[in-house]
Amino acid sequence: MQDDLKPTLGEQDRSLSLTKSPPEAPRTDHDELRSIPGDTVPSVEVSRELTPPPLPPRPRLEVQGRPATSSGSSLRLSKRTSRPQLLSQPTTALSLTDVHPQGRLESGSLQSSPASRPVSRKQSASHLGRFAGSSESGGDDSASLRSYAPTLDARLDGESLLGGLVETEETPAWRALSAQIERDDPFGNIETVDNEFSSQLEHEFDSLETGENDLRTEDDLLELWKAKLKHFFILSASGKPIYSRHGDDHLISHYIGVAQTIISFYQGADDPLKSFTAGDTTFVMVAKGPLNLVAVSRLGESEPQLRTQLESLYMQILSTLTLPSIEKMFSKRPSTDLRRPLEGTDVLLDGLADGFTRGSPSTLLSALECLRLRKTHRRTINETLLKVRSPNLLYGLIVAAGRLVSVVRPKKHSLHPGDLHLIFNMLFEAGSVKASDGENWVPLCLPVFNNTGYLYMYVSFFSTSSSPSSNNDTTSQTGSERPASKVKDDELAIVLISANRESFYELRKMRDDLVLQLEKNQSMSLIKTAIHAGHQPCTDIVPGTPLRHFLYKSRGNVQFTMPSFEPHFHGLVAKRKLMSLYASLHENLHSRTAKTKVVHVVGKEATALAWETPLFELFCVAGPGATRSQLAAGANRVVQWVRREEERVFIIGGAVF
């Protein structure tokens, strides 16, 4: 069946390379990655450490037998020669630092795989065999459940998105396709307990503490606690609880004790435990100096994905306390109770944890989303930022509802998605800053930028709801994006970061100047219009294709773009399922052993395609019954659309001083 797929792949690649060929085609990720260690971020050591090694050429497995292969490689070369100046310029506002640990693994494994045909083929054959076996046993496991899942067709389309996947596992087509997939379908389990899952997810974010005073017994609480689909724990190396998403100390102390015992047993044996599974539950442990972080998930996420989430929680702790101060505390007293210094930051950790539980494209892709603006409009905003820049400014951001509008930064420092994610979480998920209704002056450490010291962040929010351009029907789309967030989606934040703790009034004045200028040159109303316009529906972006949703990540810009979730993915459960589908596709592309560059999944309720190139990652989801060629055509249309819109949907460069 490998051969069966190949002609399609060949076609795709050919049409892709046609769109790639004009000289003004965007530079490849490849080029940009090359340029990093040398020029772009020479002065930030942290960034250099984490910069992934240059990507090797794509393994030949995919290209073998493809007529377009040679044209592809020659294209890359010609681009490099035709636009040599790109090599020495900062190409993006965001650093290419890939905080995704699996990203590193992946590039490492790519590197290690020699592009020689026999070897690659052998590897893929072994996957095939392994998978066939696991697929069979998986089928047995879920057979009884599956055959009695009665409600597949009665549910809404979006809700039953994943409905067909388990069932089709038995069909020859699924068997054939499943060879493309690295591991057993991880979200199948969710499907079989679908109704239960939906109701559990509805209550996932309910607090256990609020009802404490009433009639609930301890057992009831424990039941509620156990019903949570996802848990995060942070404990010190000596076993002191530091954070738990659900439940208070009393409730979790036993479990913390068990976790501590297990972790320290393996650490004692000098063979740290990284993860294990029990039934449909995955346990992942990350040890970070004096801290141990544990994730327990029944959402079908993969180990690397959970690991990324734990890393992010750890980054939040660093952001609060800085690395040296944590190390100092624990070297002085190993039994330090970190909860006291971390007091009040649970809202931030909860915000991150709940974001992971809901599933966010941003976290999955380790990329940021930008507000779609015309190129000239964005340039005006950039120029305004540069014009009003105050001397002590390090970074300046304009953020609209979690989407970046513009960035101003020094030439030698780039902004890292991991750091930005922490800032966005603080602004838009945890209500602390927003709720105060004023301006804020927040000391924080941006751990990827520099984990040893604090920066100071000036934040000022504007409501854009009074905008004259607020049109009626699109507001539902804007409002739908962060279902559990308390912050409305029409908020515009100006964020100014300085290394000088005394520069509040200076930055405040810059904010005043900035707002004045933006009002004067109409940019403010353009931003508001763009915010209220929300995401475009998929049918506007790629009309005539069966696509319902897609994620396109530009690897060079470390940014992604996507259409509106409406109308197909409405509500928490539908979105979580969509994100699970994306997560599994992502895992198929990125797991350490994955060699696939194109993944096609067919289900009764949905079909999906994932496609990775050095330039981008694209994940498309279409309704049931969409053929492979329709999906491929849709994917190509998305790629073409992004080509056309690149400078609108992505920030390329930003304002650099």
Binding site: N213, V347, V433, G438, W441
Partner: protein
């Protein structure tokens, strides 16, 4: 009074006052400010991170005071940043929670630090918040107020605190009195140190505007500066310069030292 309605006070001279709120975490600092600035109350308010900066005008009979308020975070790790906020401040609100004895201890600590390090003329007001939880409850020995448990999760940061740090203090313990700091004790301390003193409820609004009016009246005329320029000067580095400027500029000279305000002394409970 300190309403959010900013009445047309064209003829009245206006001056800026930099005010800082200090106190233990979850005593209701942000809730007091929110009540004063927006006349609003949010139960389960999330903890402040860093500090928030807000402004609000108070109209006195003879002049308008524009408060520039630094609402600081109460957590221990932010303590080292406090000098940045109380430096140059003309007024400070040191807040404690009447249902939590430890918070008065923390308040004493802040008062001592202010007396040591803040501007000499700073007006300090001691505020016992959350009296709504302790209605009809005169002190640690009084009987428990029946509705207290129900009200507890409605009260400002108390609930947030309970949720956020489960092991930490439970303001309204099941046994004994809700009120843990008696009016008498706090008042005696305030008199001893020469502080203004009020007991407030950010939830009900009790005494909140009175606190700010009293502070406005208590600010020495000499340290008041004129409108915009004054604000900018305060914003900059030099208070001393600003104070000089304020002294020079001819300001109307009423209620210089509003000693009468001490008479108000909250304690409406």
């Amino acid at each position: 009074m300190a309403d959010s309605t900013q009445a047309a006070a064209a003829p009245k001279p206006s001056s800026s006052v930099k005010l800082v709120l200090l106190g233990e975490a979850a005593v209701g600092k942000s809730s007091l400010v929110l009540r004063f600035v927006n006349n609003d109350f949010q139960p389960n308010k999330e903890p402040t991170i860093g500090a928030a900066f807000l402004t609000q005008k108070t109209h006195l009979p003879t002049r308008t005071i524009k408060f520039e308020i630094w609402d600081t975070a109460g957590q221990e790790r932010f303590a080292s940043l406090a000098p940045m906020y109380y430096r140059n401040a003309q007024a400070a609100l040191v807040v404690y929670d009447v249902t939590r004895a430890s918070s008065l201890g923390k308040a004493r600590h802040w008062v001592a630090e202010l007396q040591r390090q803040a501007s000499p003329g700073i007006v300090v007001c001691l505020v016992g918040n959350k009296v709504d939880l302790a209605e009809g409850d005169d002190g640690p020995d009084a009987e428990e107020e029946e509705g207290a448990d129900g009200e507890e999760d409605g009260q400002g940061e108390a609930a947030a605190a309970a949720a956020v740090k489960p092991a930490a203090v439970k303001p309204a313990a099941d046994e004994g009195a809700v009120r843990k700091v008696s009016t008498k004790e706090a008042k005696a301390y305030a008199e001893e140190e020469g502080l203004l003193f009020f007991e407030t409820s950010a939830k009900s609004g009790l005494n909140v505007s009175e606190v700010f009016t009293a502070i406005a009246n208590a600010i020495p005329e000499a340290s008041l500066k004129g409108g915009r320029a004054g604000a900018n000067a305060a914003a900059g580095a030099g208070t001393q310069a600003a104070i000089m400027a304020g002294a020079d500029s001819s300001k109307v000279n009423l209620n210089a030292k509003a000693g009468g305000d001490k008479g108000q002394e909250g304690c409406a409970c």
